[in-house]
Symmetry: C2
Subunit: 397 residues, 2 copies
Amino acid sequence: MPRTYLTPDHHKKRINRLKEKIDQEGIHTFLLFNSKNIFYLTGFSFIPTERPIVLIVHSGEVYFFVPSLEIDHVQHQVPFVSEVFSYFEYPDEQHPMHHLARVLEDELEISPNRVASESPGAPGYWGYKGPSLEDVTCLKFKILPDTVMDMRVIKEPEEIEIMRESSKWADRAHKYLQEYTEIGANEIDVTIRASAQGSHDMVAELGDAYHPTGFSMFPAIALYRGQIGSNSYFPHALSRGLTFKKGDTLVTGASSDVYGIESELERTMFMGAPSPRQKELFSAMLSAQDAALEAAGPGVKCSEVDRAARRVFKEKGVSNLVRHHTGHGLGMEGHERPFLDIGSEDILEVGMIFSCEPGIYERGLGGFRHSDTFVITEDGVEVTTKYPRDLSSLIIE
Amino acid sequence: MPRTYLTPDHHKKRINRLKEKIDQEGIHTFLLFNSKNIFYLTGFSFIPTERPIVLIVHSGEVYFFVPSLEIDHVQHQVPFVSEVFSYFEYPDEQHPMHHLARVLEDELEISPNRVASESPGAPGYWGYKGPSLEDVTCLKFKILPDTVMDMRVIKEPEEIEIMRESSKWADRAHKYLQEYTEIGANEIDVTIRASAQGSHDMVAELGDAYHPTGFSMFPAIALYRGQIGSNSYFPHALSRGLTFKKGDTLVTGASSDVYGIESELERTMFMGAPSPRQKELFSAMLSAQDAALEAAGPGVKCSEVDRAARRVFKEKGVSNLVRHHTGHGLGMEGHERPFLDIGSEDILEVGMIFSCEPGIYERGLGGFRHSDTFVITEDGVEVTTKYPRDLSSLIIE
């Protein structure tokens, strides 16, 4: 059975790792506001709204501060929570941050100089306004925005297994996307049908092994995002309800959410036999992707991977068509640090996961970009998305 | 033909309104980072990533500062843009904020004391790190996080027309959700099918009148979010792949995205004939929703609307089952200011749009909450979601 979720024991280990990290900085109490970081550490997934939700890691114990509508939800999802503190609602007659101040100072009796927070106050979201932590308490907060994000950069073996599973369902949904694409069809309709069928397969085949986190409405997606025909020239086009015509260059996207971990798969496809120029740009892009994957491995600089792809584009005389770097970290968000970019100072390490997606864009003709998900291994890389990359597999007759 | 989008002329009027507002504060140049605010003012929709994208409103003219992958995309979408400044990529060898500093100081020659920004620097997003605007320039920025959000609170007549259209498609998708719900079905499967069919209808029936912004993958959605049977007790449950059984209390959700404007529709439904307690709580919830809608109107305090719903819950002896306030502003985000909450100081004005969703939650039995979208009118309110609210329409046999 493939791994499709993590257990409370796994989350407790992460809490312990976090405790060790902050101990080294003399911090006993850490307040976390970022919803993905909270999920990473505790398995509690929730809808972020204007109502502040705070994870408090205090002397290695786990506390939550939540609005009343989340009290039982936390207790249900996080078996190892020590105590759930709450306020009724935002904005309410007393601002939640004043309740939080009381919890920190009176209930937890926090040491004034050994406390840190991800941000100076609750992040503004969906209309939230509020004072900073230092406005409402006598505590002096160290701001540590990167501590958990840094932990998330190196994926654990279990996360890599889950990323393989996510890649599998991205491949599946993409298969339907290609199958349903035909001249005259609307991109939105094809997107809907492929995502619906891919998600249906995933729910049916995984059965009880599927533990949705609720972050994504559709378990698997495969989509067009407006990169159709000459519009595929815009690297970050958005869906415009376009219809497919003969000769179009297409750039697709696919992913699936397995316990909050999301792979990335993109393909360049053609409506009918490609022209010599379409073939030429496709081939340059494919060579650049090969070169980047070949360059990558443990101990290599991120910048070197980007340079390898750029070198190919230069050799092929298409450097002027480049609009972005070669890739970005992957995990629980669309993009994560580090970046495969000539400006990056980071070194690749075993367990990092990236997209590999060098692209070129020619006005009038379109965009040429595959994206694959790959893991840094002891030996080099493992590409987890398996969808065919070669030209002949990607022509829609 | 119903209104389904706004034109560049409309956006230009908003830019002029913004100019008048900031002129009053002695501001000549305003930097905007919030993607929804940028769309509101210019019609430019884009995928927010770690790459900073900045709208610069300078002496009433519109400039953009974008990564190279968005240069042509902006020009394509915003016909009235004066100039698009750019940097190649993030992180790149030189940080984008240094490029921005050069644009502000050398190209636009901004007056050092008449400049404002929505935030002290680019918002941290998807792994972005960077200096503040004052770290990289000699300019003194006034921080105005609320200026555009305040403009967005009162909806223009055109936005209200679009909200009616969004409500219509939320109703349609919800019809499919109810139709597909049956004993033994999986919530995710029903969600997928209803959203796919509702979206299909919307794309097919609107045809060329549909101008997707790309913010939402599915034009119309109707979903279960885990609020099924005893799990519906959690007001903000998340999808867990539950199956429907006889006796379940269900709480649904539906919306559609018409030019970035999103209605809200939720219904409490029952799998088979409800028990006396289910009927009692449903009836209390319905009376509270009626009372809130009756209390609302121009000149009324937001807090009074919340109080009207709470009064009903108190009369019915279920105040202890309340977990949240009565509603929130609606527009381009899931929740917006102001809030229908006893702590709100805001006064209802013609053109504001809200959800009306007083709810009660009984452990073991479930949640009882309808949500409808309503507009404040000269005469009182107009409810734009039309889905049946009465008990007999919401029993699934």
